[in-house]
Amino acid sequence: METSRRNFLKLGGAWALGLAILPAVKGFAANNPEHLVNPKAMAGKRWGLVIDMQKCWPRYQAGCRRCFDTCRREHNIPDIGNKKEEIKWIWTEPYGDAFPDQQHELMAEDIKNNPFIVLCNHCDKPPCVRVCPTRATFKRQDGIVMIDYHRCIGCRYCMAACPYGARSFNFRDPRPYIKELNPAYPTREKGVVEKCTLCVERIDTGLPPACVEVCPAKAITFGDLEDPSSEARQLLKNRYTIQRKPELGTHPSIYYIV
């Protein structure tokens, strides 16, 4: 066949069309495995906690550390024994540090002197997510602020952005500092930032966060803040609650009854 300019262009056009639709053809042809949400998974639009410090204190002051200990064990959180390199997911702060703009000099003594349980606030407008250059930290559909350790490059922008100090950096390999390794959950490695994940691994299999479950005083209530009938919303409706640093507009999902 004589190759004319016309034939050449026709052939070229056919090639280009073929290449253009190739991805679509591949998509139909390939045996695409399916991925499903666990049917037992809890569905919510914005998960949050209501922490009743009045229920917590009598036991906490008497030595209950159940929520901290359980969290530590479940998530392989190392105990480095050095304040500067401490890894913390849930810990305590005095009132003045947790709520710096909601205090005055004549504050009731029992509130002023008691420890407040603090953790990642899983903000509705999380500043950490906005600054993460690799999108390693992100907000899930259900409001949980997550970190993908596979993508974290350890730049610590999120730590600088978080007004609650809820994030910790792994300055060293945490493995040797984990007392009892939980083989069902991964550890972290040197050079990544970590924090509370509100137990996504439990929520996705239909269980409430571990700290909520183990609290003997039932001081922590877990629920969907978008659902008016949830237990958490009932508490918010009937009790006076405060948030940490509401003036910053991050809209924390953790509420406190004091």
């Binding site: 045996n31 495995p33 399916e34 991925h35 499903l36 949400v37 666990n38 998974a41 392989n76 992100f138 899930r140 559909q141 259900d142 997550m146 993908d148 350790y149 596979h150 390999d173 390794l181 083989p183 069902a184 959950y185 991964p186 550890t187 972290r188 490695e189 996504v200 996705d204 299999t205």
Partner: protein, 132 residues
């Protein structure tokens, strides 16, 4: 003219010899292909010794599969993998893969060493106890 030819040719011969050193020094000494040992207590219990997908597929694409699982679980909160035979599995390295493949040194390291790849999964994901 061309009085330096012998120097140049000698130099070239030495150069080619050095460059091809890895090839001829290893000639005829092919490393044995790995034969991963599937003998673990969990696998011994299985009626049909078949992984979640066909062996050939797993051999060639397990890394893509694991990468896909990672995205589905961590980013999208999806937990269940539906294999091509319709069976459902929890997407988890620790709680699914390692339950059968508890012999990491035999099952994983052998091939990875042979292929010269060093996946850094183990710096976070906890390898099964038997290897410690």
């Amino acid at each position: 003219m061309y009085r330096d030819a012998r120097y140049i040719i000698t130099g070239l011969v030495i150069f080619v010899g050095l460059m091809t050193f890895p090839f001829w020094s290893n000639a005829g000494r092919a490393a044995p292909a790995p034969a991963p040992n599937l003998d673990t207590p969990a696998i011994r219990q299985l009626p049909a010794k078949q992984c979640i997908e066909a062996t050939q597929y797993m051999r060639a694409y397990h890394m893509q599969l694991l990468n896909d699982w990672r995205t589905q679980v961590v980013r999208d909160g999806k937990e269940i993998y539906v294999a091509s035979d319709g069976k459902q599995y929890t997407m988890s390295l620790e709680n699914t893969c390692f339950q059968c493949h508890s012999n990491k040194a035999e099952f994983c390291d052998q091939c990875h060493t042979y292929a010269g790849v060093e996946p850094d999964c183990w710096s976070c994901h906890i390898e099964p106890k038997e290897n410690k």
